[in-house]
Symmetry: C2
Subunit: 232 residues, 2 copies
């Protein structure tokens, strides 16, 4: 069953929750009405479904539904597929990507990659970085960091977004959470036009991260940040 | 005069530009019609206004208007106001924030800051980091990194967004480019509830970056990434 889209912070999860004018106004802005379902959470890791019982200008009354587990996880698995970088930069990317909710990290060998392989020890270390970051950001899931594969043989499932400088499509225009999502980012120097064209011909959507040139290690954080900030 | 919202990549800026079915489809999705203005850019740093002359299923014809200068800059100045962190983490934040388009970086002393000051040499070094990052991302503007001030005396102008774990408002719901924008991010351990409440009482909007806990150095990159990906 799909989770309700809107999340609302409450002081405490309780059988009946009465909220004040600020929250009532927010619910009005979201065009919610009595009978609609939302998610409520307490900021301490507890989350549940709730039904809006009453809503007027000054207050909102909600009744508690089933608990939601894995509240810190995206509705479908989110995968980062990033071109190989130097190991210390990859560690920064893995750490931030884990905080931003990825379930898996794939490493890609691309045409312009100046790094074409990664040792077993370094891969193991990236796994440990993911484990620590997962714990720090209070997630139940530890992303797996997979050994690199050539971009040409990589077959992502679900919705695929590729960061491309100069694209005009915005993440906000295309992101749906109706299937797993994979985001692909390039190496220093970027993916080649041919690589992006091949991905697009297989159904990927090329999205912009604004008019500036981003470093290879900034692009995944910016793109995953955009996805996190858009809500799920 | 406000710039047209939508940007379109073209092979070359020319007096008359005829685009193919893919671009025509994109313009349809954006609900644009003959007579509407867009921005066209060539991905090499040139950008201009253009007017849509004809649009059908198979092609779009545009006529060139005035050149747009400073195409890599946000429509109004974007300021990052970040709580003081250790100098090496600040350098990473300054570098990424510069790539993501900030015009100014303010450093804040906050209640939970474990770092409360920064030496002149380190501040000068952050300025150099901004300069290098600006050059790398092909910007005309080098963000100034200002000496720290206490959060209580910081008086941002325009629209103010503060990253708050547990907020329910999304950047996409609130961001307008009708004035300068300032984004405020906290230290390790976060801003206190009282600090966020004081900012909100002075007009700031608390926005979410998703349900997970982000490190202090990830939050600004994620938030600025979201702003860049939303388009300007």
């Amino acid at each position: 069953m799909t989770l309700p889209r809107h999340r609302l912070r409450v002081p405490e999860l309780a059988a009946t929750m009465t909220l004040g004018p600020a929250e009532a106004r927010h619910l009005h802005v979201l065009r919610l009405q009595a009978g609609d379902e939302v998610r409520v959470f307490d900021g301490q890791g507890h989350e549940a479904r709730a039904t809006l019982l009453e809503l007027d200008a000054g207050s909102a009354v909600l009744t508690l539904g089933e608990a939601v587990s894995g509240a810190a996880e995206t509705p479908f698995p989110l995968t980062l597929a990033a071109a190989l970088l130097k190991a210390d930069k990859l560690a920064d990317v893995v750490r931030a990507a884990t905080e931003l909710g990825v379930a898996e990290i794939r490493l890609l060998v691309t045409a312009r990659a100046d790094v074409r392989e990664i040792g077993d020890q370094k891969l193991t270390r990236l796994g440990r970085v993911a484990q620590e970051a997962s714990k720090q950001s209070r997630r139940a899931v530890v992303p797996v960091v997979h050994a690199p594969v050539p971009l040409a043989t990589f077959a992502p499932q679900g919705q695929v977004l590729v960061a491309q400088p100069g694209s005009v499509l915005r993440v906000a225009e295309v992101l749906r959470w109706t299937a797993p999502v994979t985001v692909i980012t390039g190496p220093e120097g970027g993916l080649t036009d041919a690589e992006v064209a091949a991905l697009v011909s297989r159904g990927a959507q090329a999205v912009t991260l604004g008019p500036r040139i981003l470093r290879a290690e900034t692009a995944p954080v910016a793109l995953l940040g955009a996805i996190a900030a858009l809500g799920e």
